[in-house]
């Protein structure tokens, strides 16, 4: 007896199981493992606990404890000493490999992309049989049609290797749980470790159902970051397929200008419902932005700006920034306003850092800054930004009251969209 037997799922499915007396008992249809892969390092979730057998015309799940998989001279055989049926609870909490993993798309958490499962590799140790890895390589495909060994032998004549590609079970994140009642947030735990743009790429490649279910399992902060990164079409699909309150919670966490961009593409009725569901402060900002016609500075600007009175000192401003902890882009440019919010000047983080603490803002600010009117058409905004070497341009209304700013990131994004559209 060997202490370690490794075998493939494709090698065992469809095989007959023999009893202790050598009689055929039934045909193997599926293997059941104890839990859904969550990307968490837990050896028990890799344990094979059950076997789906077809005996006569009946399909039933039996405990794997009484089964043994033996490999002798490259041939697999499965024997069974006793049939113990599993309770429906045990079956429902487990995960069937053929039904939910084989041929399905999974996320390779290490490579951060979607791949398709060609086979599953298992190993029998003293303590039980475990899922080790999923095969996503060409060799797995060849094995499925039963020509892996002859082709490998043939190619080895020419010293060509078919590279095997495996993903360790720890790095696997499965999606296709359509027939299971699983608490999603737990089973998608490790997805949170992915960068929002990687997650966005993966979501875009997924089918509609999985996309919505994965997205709703993310916490609001993460969901907001991911939603920002998605293509407009996917954004719309997600917003239209999730419940209003969930979407509203996510949108509240996003910058108002991004929200306005997305809502622009959605039916007015649903927009109204969403805005009502959001807290009044966020929705008010979005409403104002939505009123600006496309292609105006107002439609492109963010309303998240930091403005200070000219009488403050550098020290006071820095302290206030420490308390507020603003986002990176809010710090691109800082503004000085009069009592009535009229724009008086701008200053930068650099100005603050290089000045003595007791210096007045009025001494470091640049008065008469470059600005845009909110209803001004902005076809050449990129030129203005590059001409004056700015990270952000203030936007004021016709009474010179500060409304927001256009940041360079949004200008670049807009430029790229334009280029992409022209290319197509």
């Amino acid at each position: 007896m060997t202490s370690l037997t490794t075998f493939y799922l494709s090698g065992i499915i469809g095989k007959e199981v023999f009893g202790a007396d050598g009689d055929a008992i039934g045909v193997i249809k599926d293997l059941l493992i104890s839990a859904v892969p969550s990307g968490l390092n837990d050896p028990n979730q890799q344990l094979v606990i059950g076997m789906k057998l077809k005996i006569g015309k009946e399909l039933k799940h039996y405990s794997f404890k009484t089964f043994r998989v033996v490999k002798a001279r490259e041939m697999l055989s499965v024997t069974c000493t006793d049939l113990i049926e599993l309770s429906s609870d045990e079956v429902n909490n487990g995960l069937e490999l053929v039904e939910n993993i084989l041929d399905k798309q999974i996320v390779d958490l290490n490579g951060r992309k979607l791949v398709r499962v060609n086979d599953v590799r298992l190993a029998t140790l003293m303590t039980g049989t475990f899922v080790v890895a999923v095969d996503i390589g060409i060799e797995g495909l060849l094995r499925r049609i039963g020509v892996s060994i002859p082709i490998k032998k043939f190619l080895s004549l020419f010293r060509i290797n078919i590279p095997a590609k495996f993903i360790l079970w720890d790095d696997v994140q499965a999606f296709d749980f359509s027939n299971l009642n699983i608490r999603l947030s737990k089973s998608y735990a490790k997805l949170h470790t992915l960068h929002p743009s990687d997650l966005a790429d993966i979501l875009e490649d997924l089918g509609k159902k999985s996309r919505a279910s994965v997205f709703s399992a993310l916490d609001e902060e993460k969901a907001a970051d991911v939603l920002e990164e998605l293509e407009p079409q996917t954004q719309i699909h997600i917003i239209e397929s999730l419940p209003l309150d969930k979407v509203a919670d996510v949108l509240e966490k996003m910058p108002a200008d991004e929200v306005a961009d997305i809502l622009d593409e959605i039916e007015d009725e649903r927009v109204e419902l969403l805005l009502r569901e959001m807290d009044s402060e966020s929705s008010q900002e979005v409403r104002e932005l939505l009123e600006y016609p496309n292609n105006t500075a107002g439609s492109l600007m963010t309303t998240d700006v930091l403005s200070f009175k000219a009488g403050r000192t550098v020290d006071e401003v820095i302290n206030e920034l420490r308390i507020k902890k603003p986002e990176q882009s809010e710090l691109y440019s800082l503004f000085v306003t009069e009592e009535n919010d009229e724009l008086a000047g701008t200053f930068t983080l650099r100005d603050l850092v290089v000045s003595k603490p007791m210096t007045g803002i009025i001494e470091i600010m640049k008065s008469e800054p470059v600005f845009l009117y909110d209803d001004q058409k902005v076809d050449d905004i990129a030129e203005i930004i590059s001409k004056y070497n700015l990270l952000a341009i203030p936007v004021v209304d016709r009474e010179n009251l500060l409304q927001g700013m256009v940041v360079v990131d949004d200008v670049v994004e807009d430029l790229m969209n334009k280029r992409r559209t022209n290319k197509r």
């Binding site: 041929d103 399905k104 798309q105 992309k113 791949v115 398709r116 499962v117 060609n118 996503i136 495909l141 499925r144 049609i145 296709d176 359509s178 027939n179 997924l206 089918g207 509609k208 159902k209 996309r211 079409q233 719309i236 699909h237 239209e240 961009d261 622009d264 496309n294 292609n295 439609s299 492109l300 807009d414 969209n417 334009k418 559209t421 290319k423 197509r424």
Partner: protein, 417 residues
């Protein structure tokens, strides 16, 4: 934001709106009238006169039902057909379908390049010049990723296929005979005519179209509330396909069949127009053939490698670069190059390749249709949007007929021996 990008001229803007309205159904329908289709319809018209026109009616019905199923599956699941087949039918069936699709599409691509060669020869350009140039052009188009805009331009030019309507009318067809041939269809029970019927159905309802259709629905991001427009789009697309096919068969049936002129290529059909309608008509016809051929020679290998990669789990998509999606670009290049080589071989059996790849389509079609009907009736996938009984009846009926025809094709030569 910035959605009013196209304000330069009114003409340009109208053009963009027009193109935006073109839906997956109309695009698929236009791609369907490729060099292979034009050849098959012309040959059928020349050999059988009007006697094969009736096949277009059942073809239209099946085409409508099938494309509607594709659209519905795409809208509801958001997944491509090859994804769904792989996930639900297992790997062996997937493997069979895609090997078949791969082979038939090499044949189809060869036919498209034959269309390029033939149409350019009418303008006096040797195939040894036109085929390498077009192949390279098509290859660079996809590898450089400017394919989306090319698709739209092709589509405008493929309106030149409507010249077939004109040429058919100029051939003064006998409408009474056409009518009676449609009302009283007859099938001759011999290998040749059954091969022709399968080829006609196979080219009208090409299996790769189902994959293409479903992907374009997903790419357009259609939703269930757009369903009514999608339906109109599909009906228009199917009608375009069938109407053009009808007029090609009428034109060739009226001019070539009475004289007993046998043709082998779509090029011959273009040439045969010359004495009847003058050189201009012949040239316009040839131009239409050229555009349709280049269009399909781009889309076919692209679509094929896309679905194979999707089903087998390789990285794919024209937005990836060569290193990211090696299998995808490798397959694409292979299909194009091998097709170009076949065309350039002296004495290549082009007609046989063309007809037999359509026959392979006809045999593959029932397998794809069965998978589709099983998938679309799967409640787990489709929820409340599974097939209605009449759709299943037409679907299964089409499968039954195709299987009977395919079997007849295999059995008849044995019986007649």
């Amino acid at each position: 934001m910035f959605r009013t990008k196209f304000t330069k001229t009114n003409f340009y803007r109208n053009l963009v709106i027009f193109l935006a309205l073109l839906g997956p159904g109309i695009i698929t329908g236009s791609v369907d009238n490729d060099a292979g289709g034009i050849t098959t319809y012309s040959v059928a018209g020349a050999i059988y006169g009007y006697r094969m026109i009736w096949t277009l009616i059942p073809s239209l019905i099946v085409l409508l039902v099938v494309q509607e199923m594709n659209a519905r599956m795409g809208i509801v699941t958001g997944k491509g057909l090859s994804d769904l087949i792989r996930e639900n039918a297992g790997f062996k069936i997937t493997f069979f379908i895609f090997v078949g699709l791969f082979l038939s599409n090499i044949g189809n691509t060869t036919t498209e390049l034959a269309g390029v060669a033939g149409s350019m020869e009418i303008f006096g350009v040797s195939k040894y010049i036109s085929v390498p140039i077009v192949t390279f052009f098509v290859w660079i188009l996809v590898v450089k990723g400017t394919y989306m805009i090319a698709e739209r331009i092709f589509l405008i030019f493929s309106a030149s296929l409507l010249t077939y309507v004109v040429s058919a009318l100029m051939a003064k067809p006998q409408w009474r005979e056409i009518g009676s041939a449609i009302i009283r269809p007859g099938i001759e029970m011999n290998t040749q005519s059954i091969t022709m019927i399968i080829a006609l159905v196979g080219t009208t309802i090409a299996p790769w179209m189902q994959f293409y259709m479903q992907s374009s629905v997903i790419e357009k991001g259609l939703k269930m509330k757009d369903y009514k427009f999608t339906l109109i789009d599909i009906v228009v697309g199917c009608l375009v396909t069938v109407v053009v096919a009808f007029f090609i068969m009428v034109a060739c049936g009226a001019t070539l069949h009475p004289g007993g002129i046998m043709i082998n290529e779509a090029k011959d059909a273009a040439l045969s127009l010359k004495p009847l309608a003058g050189e201009l008509a012949s040239h316009v016809f040839a131009f239409g053939l050229f555009v349709a051929s280049v269009f399909s020679a781009t889309i076919l290998p692209l679509a094929t490698s896309y679905y194979i990669c999707e089903a087998f789990g390789f990285e794919s998509g024209i937005d990836k670069d060569w290193n990211e999606a090696r299998e995808f670009y490798g397959l694409y290049t292979f299909i194009l190059v091998i097709s170009a080589i076949i065309i350039l071989l002296p004495h290549a059996p082009l007609i046989a390749i063309s007809i037999w790849s359509q026959v392979l389509n006809g045999i593959l079609l029932p397998v794809v249709l069965v998978s589709m009907i099983l998938l679309i009736n799967n409640r787990k996938l489709m929820g409340d949007y599974t097939n209605k009984p009449f759709q299943n009846v037409i679907g299964w009926g089409a499968v039954g007929m195709l299987v009977i025809l395919s079997l007849a094709l295999i059995i008849l030569p044995v019986l007649s021996r």
